[in-house]
Symmetry: C2
Subunit: 338 residues, 2 copies
DNA sequence: TTTATTTACGAAACCGATTTCGCTTATGAC
DNA sequence: GTCATAAGCGAAATCGGTTTCGTAAATAAA
């Protein structure tokens, strides 16, 4: 039953395979009545075309890849939702690859794409990724790539980001307005553009408000969760303890909360916290968390939409198509004044 | 450059395509030196085999599908992590499909699998799914299916679940021990086995402790987030307001928190809350949330591992391979006594 | 020395849908 | 009535690995 292909279907109809194929593709070469007959028989026999044969012949797979560090993160899971929603609209399949922040994995994943497995790629690079050589290699094969959030600056293709610098600036400014005198920045990577842009926004805000900067106020959290917690605790136990913290990603905000809870440090009385975050629970945390909410779903949608354009419009270039969607700061209790 | 295939590679080596193919597959038919030469040339020319050609001929794609309701949920995202970790180990690719709780989508997704796109399927059915007919149809084509968490009871295949009944029983019992007299259960579906099993555990605990049950204590939350919130608020505003709540999924716990916040109802003083949840923020919520933590990552791993076995061991049957991994209750402040 | 077997490789079929090209018949133009 | 065109369909090539089968040379068995 489950083994009927184009040829067996054709023989049932006393037609040739080519005719049936054309009929199913609604070719003008085929008469309306034949198309009718073909469709009826196809549904009757429950014919489903073999996707690999089709992909092989047409050299396209209606499949896109999403390459990202992890999925257990509100930003990424929402972005995937956005991506999937447009992929489904357009009849595309979505392959998901997790790098777990490993550059080596990212490389081997991209390498595999040279086999034609996917028509296009959406990606958010790993924390370790030092450059875009591996991406350039497959882009050179004519496979379109759209970055979202964590981009490769050097690559000349579409990038969907949020206003990292500006929102980080505003976040820092908010802390200053709330009375913070010594503000720490929790970074996730030295090489990641978003981390650096957010750091620049933070720095510029400090400079503009004539607040002195200490190297120890920038804490690198480029390892696993346990290391983050240790680094944060260490920071909170030093003599010059910060009274404000800008966390560059969601994970670090929860780490700060846990660290403060363990150390008995009160938020926001002793330290105020603001974070880039898409946590659904932000409003019900103890205390509720002031967030810089990134437009995760929309970024996913925008990235996927651009990729679809690149795939379906022959001479559409991604080069000039970068897009910045602003984040929204939602003030809550974690940055409240006494 | 990026267009070299087996034949061009072969011609560079003055060998036939078949020889090169066998050499790359490490066939015993080929001499060691020839294999050496082939491999060297392959890496030099950066040869990557076309995955569709291979899949077509071998009738297998080293690709599995994961079909689930959504990804913006801690349980599912952690499960995906588990799945992906074993898929990667075994060299499998992972296609992700989101049903968004729609049965129609689930059907059309499964239908497409009849085209041979995937070798096996991991799935967690939608809230609406009334039966397993659509799954049976593709299982009948010889494609192995493993369910995780939200299973189709009627299907005779492997199912990875947690101890829904028992942990729900214990959760309810915990509320009773903490002094609750009227306990509500928030359901997500009438048809979903996990929702019903959890409800049965809840009921049996009430019965065993001689607590009278009212129909209004079981609140169906089978719609979108706004509807959940409304239903919960309505429940909390009725005369017989519950003093304890068992939430069957994570989403509903956050809805309860938000509802209580909006209504000025205090947790745990006025109502105690326990929920099935994998929220990383459970410990830092206000108040911290008592959870039934499901072994999400391990369930994903177990499901994927079984599927791999089914795919690679010819006469391995999934029928007797169901597995129950227990959940862990972590008591926190949301169920504290005064 | 002859026959049997192994080794190492190539030619060609194959997977199943798509697409080019060609052929026949019907229709239209003049 | 003749020639051009279009409509409708089929044969066969094609996509690029994989696999079967065959063959020549080398080695072993007799």
């Amino acid at each position: 039953m489950g083994k009927i292909n184009l040829r067996t279907l054709a023989s049932q109809l006393n037609l040739s395979a080519s005719t049936v194929s054309k009929a199913l593709m609604d070719s003008h070469e085929i008469s309306t009545e034949t198309k009718q007959r073909v469709h009826e028989m196809a549904t009757e026999l429950n014919y489903v075309p073999n996707s690999y044969a089709s992909s092989l012949r047409r050299k396209k797979s209606t499949t896109i890849a999403v390459v990202l560090p992890e999925v257990a993160d509100s930003f990424f899971s929402l972005a995937i939702n956005g991506i999937e929603s447009v992929a489904r609209e357009k009849g595309y399949h979505v392959l998901i690859y997790l790098t777990h922040e490993s550059f080596a994995r990212e490389q081997s994943i991209l390498k595999d794409f040279q086999g034609g497995r996917v028509d296009g790629i959406l990606m958010s690079v790993s924390r370790e990724t030092p450059n875009g050589d591996h991406v350039k290699e497959i882009a050179a094969q004519g496979i379109p790539v759209v970055f979202f959030d964590r981009v490769c600056e050097e690559m000349d293709t579409a990038k969907i980001t949020t206003d990292d610098f500006e929102s980080s600036y505003k976040a820092t400014q908010h802390l200053i307005e709330q009375g913070c005198k010594q503000i720490a920045y929790l970074s996730i990577s030295e090489s990641l553009s978003i981390s650096n842009k957010r750091m620049m926004g933070y720095r510029e805000a400090l400079t503009d408000h004539h607040i002195r900067q200490y190297p120890s106020d920038i804490v690198a959290c480029n390892n696993d969760a346990e290391q983050h917690l240790l680094a944060i605790k260490k920071m909170m136990l030093q003599k010059r303890r910060p009274d404000g913290i800008v966390a560059s990603v969601e994970k670090l905000a929860t780490a700060v909360y846990i660290a403060c809870k363990q150390l008995g440090i009160l938020i926001p009385r002793q330290v105020k916290v603001i974070s880039f975050s898409n946590l659904e629970t932000a409003a019900i945390l103890n205390p509720s968390l002031t967030t810089i909410t990134q437009p995760a779903f929309d970024m996913g949608r925008a990235a996927a939409t651009l990729l679809m354009k690149a795939l379906n419009k022959p001479n559409f270039s991604l080069k000039q198509e970068s897009l910045v969607i602003p984040s929204v700061i939602t003030v809550r209790d974690s940055t409240a004044q006494d």
